[in-house]
Subunit: 654 residues, 2 copies
């Protein structure tokens, strides 16, 4: 009765071996251990998927968390008749969408994997998203779509997997199924637990999961029974399921089976024949059928309705009033949430500090507490975003550094994730350096296609949360713990790549580029200097990435707008370490240095400590007094240094 | 019989409450739940510590992983008579070493905590370090020093805690004791498990730990029995121990006890009297005694003997030979390891790719497999370093982004940790973007006091591993997957902050600053351009941080060395995204832009994909052909653009 599925598994093995040998690289042995597990899932009616409506929320999802098994993933779609043999043989080629690790460049792939241990968290986001959408749609549905995640036994060492485990049982995600491929061998040898299925089972159960053990992960009958068990569970059983299968790495080719030193190595061309012979007769024409889900009115598409990037509803922050930008973040989430049913909010146990709790109090059904597990939070948000939700996530900016790898990977999944990091900079004061984000601008700028905002007052913060909705990319909003005075009227417009010139005169001696809390220090400095007859231009670069290149060029005299006065003395002030932040962002814009510019960068240059915000801004020399001092110094010394060099040049050319 | 310890606990409560109220911020309720647990540990003879020899390896270690309980930590040393009441009342003040979260500025603190979930991993490193040193010293010892880690029940949601749990049992660390303070309440409400001690116990046991449950974490008798049980375990029992104690947040002050919304809030001044009254009579003079460990010859100090930063032993990489820099990393570890008994090596399941396995094969007793858990690896290395070891750790550079928070925190612990990230850049080829480190330079530069090296050939790589030994700071070495030709002779010297001018003439039209794989592309470009009569200067900036500011200034004409020709056209080429990398590092050095400079930055500007290294370097326009093209373009257009601006200036001044 299983002869066809056996033929299909032969084809999968054939494709995996031939495609990796043709590519000259890849991980065939990792694929071979999961052939029967995946072949049975796809072609015995357990995985529900409609290729003609792959946007539909009614489809099951499959995530290869062990992304290096990509050749098997592609082979499955070949065996399903959705891609060709030529596609299979284009593996890892530059012009092919069939990359070394899965990416959404192949249309049936939702998310990029390959940095291990992230897939289950993404699955949690999708499983939660499916339940959320069905609940919001008030549609009765017979079979809830499932999210299947293939996990490797090496990657389960990643703590993030256990973050996903604990949160999946907490949220009762009985539509989430993890398939643990226990092939015993990692890249350089045996895993911590080898084939100790009992311990894997104990751990999964302790984390609130139902477990099903498959003693022989290559026995189709045993695998079928496991999947049947999952299908036939009463919906009252609210636990997620982990299928723990003992498999053999390299299964099917004797000289690869359960051997060390074959990880990430294809079968050499001169042994290909020997390997293929072991598959015996392969029917290259056999094709399997994937069960299509029944269409259900009101649940055709992932997206929940058009996102409205309309103008911010008017807010009444009174000019001069003291409001923290982090509070404006919460205010904006609430008004945005009213207009956008797709908007969901996640926070890592800090919602009463980030003000995400304002949204929680208004839309509890769209707020998801992620507890203190930032890595999982980012990947869960990615899962939500791939179903058409727009997730806003928040924590202390310092702790988001923990999820840099997940943020990095989210970009390769085209994840539309909005991140807010609060309590940025030394200005948080007495909690000390562990709580101060001083590398976060650098981190978020380094993501190639990210957008980075750093508002200085509640009005700009509120508006920039709206702006972040209008971008389809990863967006980062840096907020401040301290209350700061309102600078802008509620009519003021803020744009991606914009800036605000707060102070300017026809005879400015210097220009101060800054953002966030130091905008206020710069304005105080402006007043001080003005008393002494020194004019400085003050610019709020609230959009750190993309940065307002035109305004910078025009002001420093490298631009082409001749109506503006040119300023040679540039000062950048930021509450961040000197590397990769606002200072370097400004420098990187001054490409053609065809005018004489003196550049001074005030940033956090000493390891901070506990103290008051005022003491720390002074200690790091990024407060008003330091700005005043530096401006005077620059204006005093600039001419001299200038003169020196001119002489030097004269001497040279002499 | 427990009257004195009860008096001491009263004093601890008094100090916690008064110090946080005096500071006007802090987390008293978090401290109050752990008073009896810590008071009994310190003053009933379980914690062995000699304040006069706090460098001794014979001391037990205590890590407050729940760093926000710092006021309790300080109170313990006050109750031990080691610090004064004034010290306690200086909590969180700018000039005090008693910060909001513990830092080594207070001499009895080993590591900074406050980013939750890291303490247990650090404890794993210390427990492993203690066992390693005792084993290497061949000294018989009656009582093995213990490492005690106080963990909060909120932070146990962090996956890193479970990475520490699995590795601690894997390495049989029976000298590691975790004390889980289950006070039920996190910052914004109840934890996932609340007071469900059973589930905590099941999880810890499933991860291979022995567990002891304390039903009343404020009952000194029950706590004593738990610690006695730990002390009296047969040394044949190889399991680490977790003490799981049910406690009450805010214990001792009725209006704080088990209440929401008191996290991170001190008792208001106007309720201080009311709170203190509940402590009844406090004896401010009572002092407890901490048991001192017996001195053991040969084990007085943490450090294992002087580190030898001697010259690299001669290596014979033949000029022109093809050797990957990652392989040279392994070679250097071996020769360094012969001279330095303090050197230990950790890797996250990639040792056969990073070449850390060369060290493993030579010094198995000093190599520690960390499996696929990068966060834990960094914190374990920090633990080792605080005992005087010098840990070198490695993985794919892309995956080290996962441990950014742990690296960030290591700097606040003055951790002497050496990190090697391999497989950097798009030049790894067909594995695709998930495996490519393109943000790692930005990440490692952003750490305030880090050193960052990016060698281009095996000779410089080998030498820079030696240089990293000579720094006492966090050091990062970026290595390349591909084999690259040997450029340097084995006599060549490489220094922190150095560079190599590889090509230079008296009439160079442009200078190319680069590092790593693109050094070779730049040299190919140099030859191409030379054929066409264009001279370019090529500089290998192998020390990205600190960067060779003097050479940059001298070459681009902002320096003072008049013997060198001045070059106006600057080109930076790097296999990294454009943000926070080499390009911005160079820009940030050109502070006084008093000469006319055209700056061109070649970096990875498109999301990469699978392909050959050659295809990807071409796709991203960072290969020789792209450099040749850009050089010609720059030289063609520079004069024009220059002229334009001059005109603009003339118009302005007119």
């Amino acid at each position: 009765m299983n002869s066809k599925i056996k033929d299909l598994c032969k084809l999968l093995r054939y494709d995996v071996i031939t495609s990796t040998t043709a590519a000259g690289s890849g991980h065939p042995t990792t694929c071979l251990s999961a052939i029967e597990l995946m072949g049975t899932l796809f072609f015995k009616g357990f995985f529900h998927f409609d290729p003609d409506h792959h946007e539909s929320i009614l489809n099951d999802r499959i995530i290869f968390s062990k992304g290096h098994a990509a050749p098997l993933l592609y082979a499955l779609y070949h065996a399903a008749g959705l891609i060709s043999q030529d596609d299979i043989l284009s593996l890892r080629k530059f012009d092919s969408v069939f990359e070394g690790h899965p990416t959404p460049r192949f249309k049936y792939v939702d998310v990029s994997t390959g940095s291990l241990g992230q897939g289950l968290s993404i699955g949690v986001g999708m499983a939660l998203g499916i339940k959320t959408k069905i609940q919001m749609s008030n549609v009765k549905i017979k079979r809830e779509p499932k999210v299947w995640v293939l996990i490797g036994d090496s990657e389960i060492a990643e703590g993030q997997v256990w973050e996903a485990m604990e949160i999946a049982s907490h949220y009762k995600l009985n539509n989430l199924v993890a398939i643990l491929d226990v092939n015993r061998l990692g890249q350089r040898g045996e895993t911590m637990l080898g084939w100790d299925l009992k311990t894997y089972e104990k751990r999964a159960q302790a984390f609130g999961w139902e477990t099903i053990v498959i003693k022989d992960g290559h026995d189709i009958e045993e695998i079928k029974n496991a999947y049947h068990h999952v299908d036939e569970r009463p919906t009252t059983n609210a636990k997620p399921t982990m299928i723990i299968a003992k498999t053999i790495k390299g299964k099917g080719v004797s000289f690869l089976e359960n051997k060390d030193n074959w990880h990430g190595k294809p079968v050499p061309k001169d042994r290909l024949e020997e390997a293929l012979k072991e598959l015996s007769k392969v029917n290259l024409k056999v094709r399997g059928t994937v069960t299509k889900p029944k269409l259900v009115k009101g649940l055709e598409l992932r997206v929940l309705g058009k996102t409205q990037n309309s103008q911010p509803s008017t807010i009444n922050y009174k000019p001069g009033a003291m409001v923290a930008t982090r509070e404006a973040y919460g205010d904006a989430l609430v008004t945005l949430g009213e207009k956008n049913p797709n908007l969901v909010v996640l926070d890592a146990e800090t919602s009463n500090s980030t003000y995400a709790d304002k949204f929680k109090n208004n839309f509890p059904e769209r707020y998801f507490e992620m507890y203190i597990a930032e890595q999982n939070m980012i990947s869960v948000a990615l899962g939500f975003s791939k179903l058409g939700f727009i997730p806003f996530i928040s924590s202390f900016a310092a702790f988001l550094t923990r999820s840099f790898d997940q943020i990095r990977m989210a970009q390769y999944s085209n994840g539309n994730v909005k991140i807010c990091g609060s309590h940025a900079g030394v200005s948080i004061g007495s909690d000390g350096p562990s709580q101060m984000a001083l590398e976060d601008i650098s981190m978020m700028r380094s993501i190639l296609e990210s957008t980075v905002f750093y508002p200085s007052d509640a009005v700009s913060a509120y508006n920039l949360v709206y702006q972040s909705m209008s971008t389809s990319s990863l967006t980062y909003i840096r907020t401040t713990r301290e209350k700061t005075p309102i600078l802008y009227s509620s009519q003021e417009k803020f744009t991606v790549g914009g800036s605000k010139i707060l102070k300017q005169s026809k005879n400015d001696d210097a220009v101060i580029f800054t953002a966030g809390i130091t905008v206020h220090e710069s304005l105080k400095a402006y007043e001080e200097l003005k008393k002494e007859g020194i004019n400085v231009c003050v610019v709020d670069l609230y959009s750190i990435k993309p940065i307002d290149s035109l305004t910078i060029h025009n002001l420093v005299g490298t631009g082409r707008d001749l109506s503006l006065p040119k300023i040679n003395n540039v000062i950048v002030v930021e509450d961040h370490y000197p590397y990769g932040g606002l200072g370097e962002a400004v420098m990187s814009q001054i490409k053609d240095l065809t005018s004489k510019i003196s550049f001074t960068h005030l940033a956090v240059n000493k390891i901070p400590r506990s103290g008051t915000p005022e003491e720390l801004l002074a200690y790091e020399k990024i407060n008003a007094a330091a700005i005043v001092k530096i401006c005077k110094g620059v204006l005093q010394y600039a001419p001299t240094s200038l003169k020196k060099t001119v002489t030097a040049k004269e001497q040279l050319t002499a």
